[in-house]
Symmetry: C2
């Protein structure tokens, strides 16, 4: 073998090159990490990120149309159907078909659903803090703002 073995990455340090400028790549990494953390912290409460998010949003927007929720939360309609079915079966959500447009479905929390959200609200909010990892408060705010802008999301008021 020649004198200098090819710059071999036998250690744990990797060259990423332009990947470090790739939003898609970094976003995926960050999201997977955040997901793992979520399970570490909240799985014991019986929370799954998608399901709890949907309950949360229905709670804040009673009478929400199922399709609107799917679009805004970027959940595919087919999947949303299953999610909602599970939540209805579990007794957390109620479906209503309004007379004005009988194609659509409106969602609202049952009392059990309200109670569930209320019960886990604190753990959920606290988790946001954990996710900051070692970002300063400013950095965290900036990150939230940029992600919101990137996704074109806009909540009402706060």
């Amino acid at each position: 073998m020649p004198a200098a073995a090819v710059e071999l990455s036998d250690d744990e340090t990797l060259e990423f090159g332009e990947l470090m400028r790739s939003p898609g790549f970094l976003l995926r990494l960050a999201q997977v990490q955040s997901f793992d953390l979520f399970f570490d912290r909240l799985a014991k409460h019986g929370l799954k990120p998608g399901e709890f998010t949907v309950l949360w949003v229905i709670g804040l927007n009673p009478g929400l149309r199922q399709g609107v929720a799917a679009r805004k939360l970027r959940i595919k309609p087919a999947h949303m159907t299953k999610l909602v079915q599970r939540m209805v079966t579990g007794g957390y959500v109620e479906r209503t078909v309004p007379d004005t447009d009988r194609r659509s479905v409106r969602l609202q929390l049952t009392q059990k659903g309200e109670a569930f959200v209320a019960k886990h609200r604190a753990a959920f909010l606290e988790f946001h803090e954990a996710e900051r990892l070692d970002l300063s408060e400013d950095e965290f705010d900036t990150l939230m703002r940029l992600l919101a802008k990137l996704t074109g999301i806009e909540g009402r008021e706060t």
Copy 2:
């Protein structure tokens, strides 16, 4: 019906509440969006984000150990095995089991693999720009920096 119908979200505007401060939520939204854009732009080149990323990284780190790649790219070992198998079958990647440690597997691109990466490099880099959407250059840089910090990633030099 009573005078003021419950604050009904029959329109398309949604209240997210504290979700707007949830990294996990915003990261997922951003990542799904980025993914969709990737397919819009690059599916015609036959590129899938995961696969191309792996090829890219192997190209930059010849002799990379499969397990290290899995850890760094946050791909589960089981999935990495399948990915690599496909790429070996396709003739893009070569696997070598070194004599010094016959448990491990080292990866490198074949000529075909090199050619493939070279061919699509431009489209891939250009895509990063598209992903900026309407972020300014400063905002984009900041976002990349914060995501890198959040994930604790570090490439060698730039």
